[in-house]
């Protein structure tokens, strides 16, 4: 079967080993980038070269150099260190928004799939309506109503991206509902909640995991988009979106202040997309 077949290891362990050995280069590189940013989020001090909040007016607006790897901002603060410092908050916002989005989507999607008929058609209509409103506009509504803050950002992005997941969960659950093993469980007389919990939900989780991986990156992009418009976190926090918003005024003379934080967002989201895509391919290939 494979080159690990002769080694007597347990099935899950073998799968993990195979997974690690068969990873293409782009996925490995993406995992390394994600690891780097996660490390920056957990322990920013390890990777920083300067104090991200230390003001040094004598070296303001310097372009990237050996001392300041990614340049400095208008107050002479080191941009490389600030981008790393911002990773924590950006990752937290992305994860928070995705978690909220998935929770809302799971409740709505599961309800729509399990209670066919009136509930389903009402919920499907609600997804239609949320789909008809552009994501950013929906997020703007939440910011208008609750005022800009980290929590609003998480709620706005979480709710605005939920309909996509909900539709996918509903479709996935409906297709699983019609499979042979669910029919078999029904024939064995298992109560429906047990079937839903033991059979339908676990099989929905696979594609959901891949989607969530990509979703975290997208959530960070939306959240930093809000902050870019000046509707996000208050300025002193070096969150990526806030850095983008601050850099906007200097883009003509000090391009790095705008380009670098955007690059961080892009590279991170791209890595998550590549890993998510790889997961999707693997999970589909297995099914």
């Amino acid at each position: 079967m494979s080159r690990f077949a002769e080694v007597t290891v347990s099935q899950p362990l073998r799968e993990v080993l195979e997974f690690i050995c068969n990873v293409p280069f782009r996925v490995a590189a993406s995992l390394a980038i994600i690891g780097f940013f996660v490390l920056a989020a957990i322990a920013p001090k390890v990777l920083q070269t300067h104090d991200p909040l230390a003001i040094d007016l004598s070296s303001s607006l310097q372009s990237p150099s050996t001392v300041h790897w990614l340049g400095t901002d208008q107050l002479g603060r080191d941009l490389y260190s600030r981008v790393l410092e911002g990773a924590g908050q950006s990752l937290a916002i992305g994860l928070g928004a995705t978690a909220l989005s998935i929770s809302v989507a799971l409740i709505l999607g599961v309800a729509a799939a399990l209670f066919a008929g009136v509930v389903d058609s009402i919920l499907t209509r609600i997804f239609d309506v949320l789909f008809a409103i552009p994501t950013l506009l929906l997020a703007l509504v939440f910011v208008t109503v609750f005022g800009p803050s980290v929590l609003t950002e998480v709620i706005a992005v979480g709710i605005a991206t939920a309909p996509g997941y909900a539709r996918m969960i509903r479709g996935q659950m409906l297709s699983i509902k019609g499979t042979g093993y669910v029919e078999a469980a029904k024939a064995l007389g298992h109560p429906f909640p047990r079937i839903a919990w033991r059979h339908i939900l676990p099989n929905t989780m696979n594609p959901l995991t891949a989607m969530m991986t990509i979703g975290v990156g997208q959530a960070i992009i939306w959240a930093s988009g809000l902050a870019f418009l000046g509707l996000g976190v208050a300025p002193p926090a070096p969150e990526w979106g806030a850095l983008l918003n601050a850099g906007r005024n200097y883009v003509i003379y000090s391009w790095w202040l705008e380009v670098i934080p955007g690059l961080a967002v892009t590279i991170f989201a791209l890595s998550l997309t590549i890993v998510g895509g790889h997961l999707q391919d693997r999970l589909e290939g297995k099914a």
Binding site: A132, F146, P148, I221
Partner: protein, 329 residues
Amino acid sequence: MTLILMKGNEAVKLVAQNPLVWFARRILSGVVVVWAAATFAFLTQCLLPGDRAQIIINVRSGNVGPAPPAELAAVNAQYGFDQPLVVQYANYIWRILHGDLGESYQQHRPVVGIIAEQIGPTIVLAIAALLTAWAIAVLATLLIAGRDNIWSKLLSGAQIFLATVPPYWLATILLVVFAVNLRIFPVVGESTAMGLVLPTLALALELSGFFGQVVLNEFTRVLEQPFVTSARARGMSDFGVRLHHVLRHAALPGITLSGWALGKLLSGAILIEIVFARQGLGGVLVAATSSRDVPIVSGAVLISAGLFVLLSVIVDLAYRMLDPRMKLT
């Protein structure tokens, strides 16, 4: 992807129906969506934490302190906040039916007028970007589909990159490179044709990444169909087969994406108008959001929902006309 499959299934189910019945149902479900969006817009206005009259007075005057009761009562009476919610809701829907989306808290002008003034440049930008995105996606697909060489790998990698990259960041890069350093295009968004090029590209490139991936998948699938082999057997050139036979089929599911793209385009346009300081809905909406001018934001929600419904009806109609398999006797 799911979208197309679902649309596909729906379309298959619809074949047996009378086209008029189909059309009537389609319009009806569109009306329901717009009505629900209106209800959502109304609810957001009620959700505003704190006393609405107080907020309106603060937005108007720029003060933060509490207003005298007489002033509050006047505002409450003016906007009908002293009436029960059901009456307010009925009035709101009634006014929408008469083309009235309320009055801006800050500008003291009807929301419809404010949005109508600014929506023109945004729509021009969105349409230009949609067409450009299609052109790029189709061209890329014609060149790379079914071929396994360095170019096809590079281009499909570029598509993934473009579909992920934040549009406001791409816009900034284009601005820095082509307007600031190379000075080919104006820095600040002008209403001239030259001023439209960079914003359009910034908006179109992201979308072309999405379109490209979908069209490419479908294109590769169609390339393996028997009618393609038969066209080749007749001695048609490879490019001719791609252009005349495969593209028509591959473009069909892509067309359904155009409705979905509207939301993406509007979201992107708001950000890109801010980057290029262009006139349009973006500036108005961002200003309204930061000053908590709810009627403008919820008015925009309602209008974009209406546009979305209109566009998806048109897309469905176009789909039925373009695909002979959907035609009824």
